[in-house]
Subunit: 353 residues, 2 copies
């Protein structure tokens, strides 16, 4: 069945089915694509023949002929980063509902690799979503010239005909800063993200302007996007005498927390820590992390909605910004020197008392 004597499986084509069913290939195509066929007898014969031969249509041939692939491509800087995987979840859930499938590729945070992948993938997709692209503006422009709609997340592309959807990190950052200010902190540190990250620029911007507004001092050290960076760079800020630390993202905050534990600095007793993204483990850390929550799934959903619209209506490049909001958990508390009372609901295990 479907295999010839040599053992090398020779795959049945639509022609074989047609021959077997004693109809034309047009009829086979019609039956298999559920287009109206008058004679039910033919339908039955075709179905039987296809079954018998184990026929499965050649998807590449079909895509080729149809000129579309029913695939949506997603390019992500780093699949190991929980932030992206949650954006993906949002995307996947909604895409799955339709007739499209999602193809994901990881660019490894490499801008050159990224543009290459995008160009290759674009050839095989009906539309694409670029998550926080690291590539240069020039490359982005090249992407805009591709002949499929592309949505860009977390990156402003002023002037380029690309749908954009991102997180307004300024609000969340401002909330975080105000939160620390109200707790009495007057000098905070920022564990910055990768230099190529547009989001980091926005977060840093939001942080400095909010801090300036309430007259707080800010120290910055460049970390990265992974935990070990937070672990390594945290002491830089401690040396500066900060009493609160804001991290580029939760992963970095996790590293910072670990270092603080090692240094026996109590959180939040001696130092407050704020993350960003609100990844799942954030709520399970010790202490549960105060962080800026970002609607990651919504981001994915919105990207798909926008992409679908562009695929239908032709070219409609729009822009959309989703809110971020502070989630207060237990890694932040009053500045010990100013408001000594009630120093934390559950202070670190060796609060200096």
């Amino acid at each position: 069945m479907g295999r010839n004597v040599s053992g090398a499986a020779k795959r049945a084509t639509i022609i074989d089915v047609a021959r077997q069913a004693r109809v034309s290939i047009s009829t086979v195509s019609r039956v298999l694509n559920e287009r109206p066929v008058a004679d039910q007898e033919l339908v039955v014969r075709v179905r039987a023949a296809a079954d018998e031969l184990g026929y499965r249509p050649n998807a590449v041939a079909r895509d080729f002929r149809r000129g579309r692939t029913t695939s949506i491509g997603v390019v992500v800087p780093d699949l190991a980063n929980p932030f992206f995987t949650h954006v993906l979840k949002g995307l996947a859930n909604d895409v799955r509902a339709g007739e499209h499938r999602l193809l994901v590729v990881d660019s490894g945070e490499d801008p050159e690799e990224e543009i290459q992948l995008v160009e290759q993938l674009a050839e095989r997709c009906d539309g694409m979503v670029l998550c926080s692209p690291r590539m240069s503006r020039a490359h982005l422009q090249a992407v805009a010239g591709l002949d499929i709609p592309v949505i860009c997340t977390n990156r402003s592309v002023a002037g380029l005909p690309l749908g954009t959807i991102g997180v307004d990190s300024a609000v969340g950052m401002a909330q975080a800063v105000t939160h620390l200010y109200e707790l009495g902190h007057r000098h905070v540190g920022y564990l910055a993200g990768p230099q190529s990250s547009w989001s980091d620029a926005r977060r840093r911007e939001g942080l400095t302007s909010a801090a300036a507004a309430c007259g707080m001092e800010v120290s910055v050290t460049v970390a990265g996007s992974a935990s070990d960076a937070g672990f390594t760079r945290l002491p830089d800020l401690l040396r500066e005498g900060v009493t609160g630390v804001l991290a580029f993202n939760d992963l970095v905050a996790v590293g910072a927390l670990a270092r603080l534990r090692e240094l026996e600095v109590a959180v939040p007793g001696d130092l407050s820590v704020v993350g960003f993204d609100d990844i799942p483990v954030a709520a399970f850390l010790g202490p549960p992390l105060t962080t800026v929550s970002v609607p990651k799934e919504d981001l994915g959903r919105a990207a798909w909605a926008m992409l679908r619209q562009q695929m239908q209506d032709g070219e409609v490049a729009s822009e959309q910004w989703l809110p971020s909001a502070l989630v207060v958990r237990q890694s932040t508390a009053p500045h010990p020197k100013r408001l000594q009372s009630g120093a934390g609901r559950r202070d670190g295990r060796r609060a200096a008392r």
Copy 2:
């Protein structure tokens, strides 16, 4: 350039290039695929024409004609699970080196969805890697009938012509059990994984047989693969009176740790916890998690090596098992009732004394 008056970009084909360069399409194809062309003049003309028209070959047409896609598909139950993303990293790094690209899809832990995705993706790939497939054996058999090589990770497929590569979790589990036994624990609990998980079955098996070997009591409760499951189910084990807990994976352990913190049970002072997988945050937790380390990147690399071999040599279904090993950190300590001395290097903050 490449756009007609209507504004709808009409894409240049190889025929347009040939016409513009005043050569045959065969020559264009030869030049662009870097096959030998004697007359350098022609090469120059073709290159120029292609440039001018902004020609990019239609990848789908090429794949169709060539009968292969230079794409490798990977199917993963849940991209949000760090374990899989690390397997992916290993795969991606090595695949990237060659001329293939990696296409990843997430099945959402749904066996039915999974088989569908696999069948669709298989049509568009030269080979596939199935990570910890949740599908039934019957479906796996269908997969084995596909006409591209497929590698299966973390799932034994006895009798099926599928390359298999997995983690020998029995050793690691045995080490973990012995470790707890030597610390004086005599009754441990297991926070089990998803029922459809073959890995969970293996881990549970390894756990119970090792425990039986040294005469330990084991209580089991079914959790799942995410942190909230660990958080929710942990009390079941506490009620059974266990003094050590082994989790299906680190994510579940994270949830368990959080619940213990909330219940003010000191880890490792009052209770020891062991995870599985050794995901990055494991080392950064409070306390740093004792866990069974699995060579995730190696798993990906090995899968690619095996897949590549199968793609070259034709059908060679083999089997390979990678070791797992206990990594002792600070979430395990002597059973308090038996060996009171040195009750933990850094005990939980409110040890009941």
